[in-house]
C-alpha cells in the first residue's frame, strides 16, 4: 500500500496528463466517481451527510484490520468524482496517519477551477469530516 504522499503524487501526475483541458478533466473526474466505494443506501441519511457541501455528500468509515475504509456518495457526478479522490487518498491508512496528514493535491491539480471558491469550503469540510471519522475510529482501536 502506497503512502498518502505517493497517492497524492499519483493524482497530481494523472491530472498533469490532462494538460489543463477542462472537458478532459471533468470527463476524468466523472470516471473516478464510478470507482468510488459506495455507501449503502440506508446510510444516506442526515447522520452521514457532510455539512458545508453545496451538493449532497454522504460519508461513512469503518475499520478493517486497523485501517480506515471510507465509503461515500454524492447527488452530483462531478462531486462524486472529487470525493473519490479523497477516499482513494485516505482509505487503507491508519487513523493516526490520516489525522496527522496534510493534503496538498487539491491546489496542485487546480481544484478551485472544478469546484469554485465557494465550494472549496465544502472540500475542506469533507477533509475535516474524514479526519473526525479517523479520530472516532482511533479511540475505538485504543479501547480494543
Amino acid at each position: 500500500m502506497s503512502s498518502i504522499a505517493e497517492k497524492e503524487q499519483e493524482i497530481i501526475d494523472e491530472f498533469a496528463m490532462l494538460e489543463g483541458d477542462m472537458e478532459m478533466a471533468i470527463n476524468y473526474i466523472m470516471e473516478l466517481g464510478d470507482q468510488l466505494p459506495m455507501i449503502s443506501e440506508e446510510k444516506k441519511d442526515d447522520e452521514h451527510i457532510v455539512k458545508g457541501c453545496q451538493s449532497k455528500v454522504w460519508l461513512d468509515a469503518n475499520l478493517n484490520d486497523g485501517l480506515v475504509m471510507f465509503t461515500a456518495d454524492s447527488n452530483t457526478a462531478i462531486t462524486k468524482g472529487l470525493v473519490s479522490l479523497l477516499v482513494r487518498t485516505f482509505s487503507g491508512e491508519s487513523p493516526e496517519t490520516i489525522l496527522k496528514s496534510e493534503v496538498s493535491f487539491p491546489s496542485k491539480i487546480g481544484m478551485n477551477r472544478f469546484i469554485g471558491t465557494q465550494r472549496s469550503n465544502g472540500f475542506a469540510a469533507m477533509i475535516k469530516q474524514m479526519k473526525l471519522y479517523a479520530l472516532a475510529l482511533s479511540t475505538k482501536t485504543e479501547s480494543n
Binding site: N27, M30, T76, A77, F114
Partner: protein
C-alpha cells in the same frame, strides 16, 4: 455611441462589449447569465475611467470645480433615472446600492413607521429572497403578518388567490415584476390597481424588468419601484428607489450620517429634504455617474430592438432545447422574458453548469435566491440561461449542441 436606433446590427452592438471577445476554457465565451449580471459596454467603462481620471471628488457641498463636476454627474444620473422610469420629479429617485437596499429602505422607513400588529403585507411565492427577508424583519419589528400569493404550476401568479387575499388588513403589497428564476412577467398593473382599492401601498421589484422594458411608474401607478444598475448594462453596486413624493416625505430615514441631515446638534438633528435624507454617507459616486451612460445605451438601442432580439432568442431557445432528451422547462408562463430555466432528467444542475463552463458557456445553476419557489416545485434548483441583446442565434445553436453532447455522456 452615436448611431441611430434601429439601424444598429447585433454584431455592431456586440462589438461594444469587450468582455464578450474572449475564450473561456479554450472556447469562445457564450455569456448566458445576464439575469444575474449583464455585461457593460465600452461607453460605460469609459465613463467610469473618465470620472476617476478627471472628476473624482466628494459630492454635494464642495465648492471647488471637481466637486461640482462630480455632483453634476451624480445628479445627471438621477435625472436619467427619472426619465427612464417616467417619474414626475427627480427628487423622487433615491440612489441606493441596489434593489436589495431599495427594498430594505422601504421596509424600514415606511414599514416600521406605518405598519402595526394585525396589518398584512402581501408578497408572492416567486419573490427573490431580497423581497422576502426585509418584510419578515418588519413583521418581527411591528407584529404585521406576511401573506404569500401562490404560484401556479406553470409559473404564473394565482391572481384569483391574490384577490381573495386582499382585504382591509392589507397595508402593503410588494411583488416582483419579472421572476428572476422563471422569467414570468407578472400582471403588475392589475396588482397595483387592485391593491389600491383596499388602500394598500405597492412596491414593484423591477430588478429583472429594467433590462427589458421602458418602465413607466406613472402609467403603472405604483407607490415604489426598485431597480439595480448591474442588470441593465450598468456598473455593479448601484441601484435606485422610486417613491411618490408624499410617501417619501412622510417616511423617516433608517440610516443616519452625512448628507442626510439639515442641522445636527447633540440635542436635536433635523433631516434634509428628499432625496438626500435617504442617502446617508458617501455613495458609490463613480458607478452612479457611469450608470447614466448605460441608460443612454439602452435608450439609443431602443426598447423595440431590445425586446425583438430577446424574443427571437427565447423562441430559438425553445425550438432547439425543448426536444433534448429529458429536458424539463421550469416555468412555462404565457408571458415570459428571455429566460429559460430548466432541468434535465437524471443530471444534477451543478454537473450541467460545470460541463457548460468547460465548453465556454456561462449559465447559472442553483436556487437563484428563490428557495421557497424551488420548494414549491419540489426541486433544489435549476439551470438558468438568460439572454441579453448582444446574444445571438448562433450562440443558442452552440448551446443546444453542447447540451446534447453533455446529455449523451450521462446516458452512456
Amino acid at each position: 455611441m452615436n448611431e441611430v436606433a434601429g439601424i444598429m446590427s447585433i454584431a455592431e452592438i456586440r462589438k461594444q462589449f469587450p468582455v464578450l471577445d474572449q475564450k473561456v476554457n479554450g472556447k469562445p465565451l457564450i455569456y448566458f447569465d445576464n439575469a444575474a449580471t449583464s455585461q457593460t459596454p465600452s461607453s460605460v467603462i469609459e465613463a467610469l475611467t473618465n470620472y476617476y481620471q478627471k472628476d473624482n471628488a466628494n459630492i454635494h457641498r464642495g465648492i471647488h470645480t471637481l466637486a461640482e463636476r462630480a455632483t453634476a454627474g451624480f445628479e445627471e444620473t438621477r435625472k436619467a433615472l427619472q426619465r427612464f422610469l417616467n417619474a414626475p420629479e427627480a427628487e423622487e429617485i433615491i440612489i441606493t446600492k441596489g434593489t436589495t437596499e431599495s427594498i430594505n429602505l422601504v421596509a424600514q422607513s415606511y414599514g416600521r413607521k406605518f405598519l402595526k400588529a394585525g396589518d398584512e403585507i402581501l408578497i408572492s411565492g416567486m419573490e427573490h429572497h431580497s423581497n422576502i427577508v426585509p418584510w419578515q424583519m418588519v413583521c418581527e419589528q411591528t407584529g404585521a403578518r406576511l401573506k404569500v400569493i401562490p404560484v401556479l404550476e406553470n409559473g404564473e401568479l394565482d391572481m384569483v388567490a391574490f384577490r381573495s387575499l386582499l382585504s382591509e388588513k392589507t397595508k402593503f403589497v410588494s411583488v416582483v415584476y419579472i421572476s428572476n428564476a422563471l422569467g414570468t412577467i407578472n400582471p403588475v398593473k392589475d396588482i397595483i390597481d387592485d391593491a389600491h382599492t383596499v388602500g394598500a401601498k405597492v412596491l414593484i421589484d423591477s430588478a429583472q424588468a429594467a433590462p427589458h422594458y421602458n418602465l413607466d411608474v406613472q402609467e403603472l401607478g405604483c407607490d415604489f419601484m426598485a431597480l439595480s444598475g448591474h442588470k441593465m448594462y450598468g456598473p455593479t453596486g448601484v441601484g435606485a428607489l422610486y417613491g411618490k413624493r408624499e410617501l417619501l416625505e412622510s417616511m423617516d430615514p433608517y440610516q443616519g450620517g452625512g448628507e442626510m441631515i439639515r442641522e445636527v446638534s447633540f440635542e436635536k438633528t433635523t433631516y434634509n429634504d428628499i432625496p438626500y435624507k435617504f442617502e446617508a454617507g458617501t455613495p458609490n459616486i463613480a458607478d452612479v455617474v457611469a450608470w447614466k451612460t448605460a441608460i443612454e445605451f439602452m435608450e439609443t438601442i431602443g426598447f423595440d430592438l431590445l425586446h425583438d432580439q430577446e424574443m427571437l432568442l427565447l423562441a430559438k431557445g425553445k425550438e432547439l432545447l425543448f426536444d433534448i432528451d429529458g429536458f424539463q422547462p421550469i416555468g412555462t408562463a404565457a408571458n415570459k422574458t428571455s429566460v429559460i430555466s430548466f432541468l434535465i432528467d437524471g443530471i444534477h444542475p451543478f454537473d450541467l453548469g460545470m460541463w457548460l463552463d468547460a465548453k465556454g458557456i456561462a449559465v447559472r445553476t442553483g436556487h437563484h435566491c428563490t428557495q421557497p419557489l424551488m420548494d414549491q416545485f419540489g426541486i433544489e434548483g435549476t439551470v438558468r440561461a438568460s439572454f441579453a441583446v448582444y446574444n445571438t442565434v448562433e450562440e443558442i445553436e452552440v448551446f443546444a449542441e453542447a447540451l446534447k453532447s453533455i446529455v449523451a455522456k450521462f446516458r452512456k
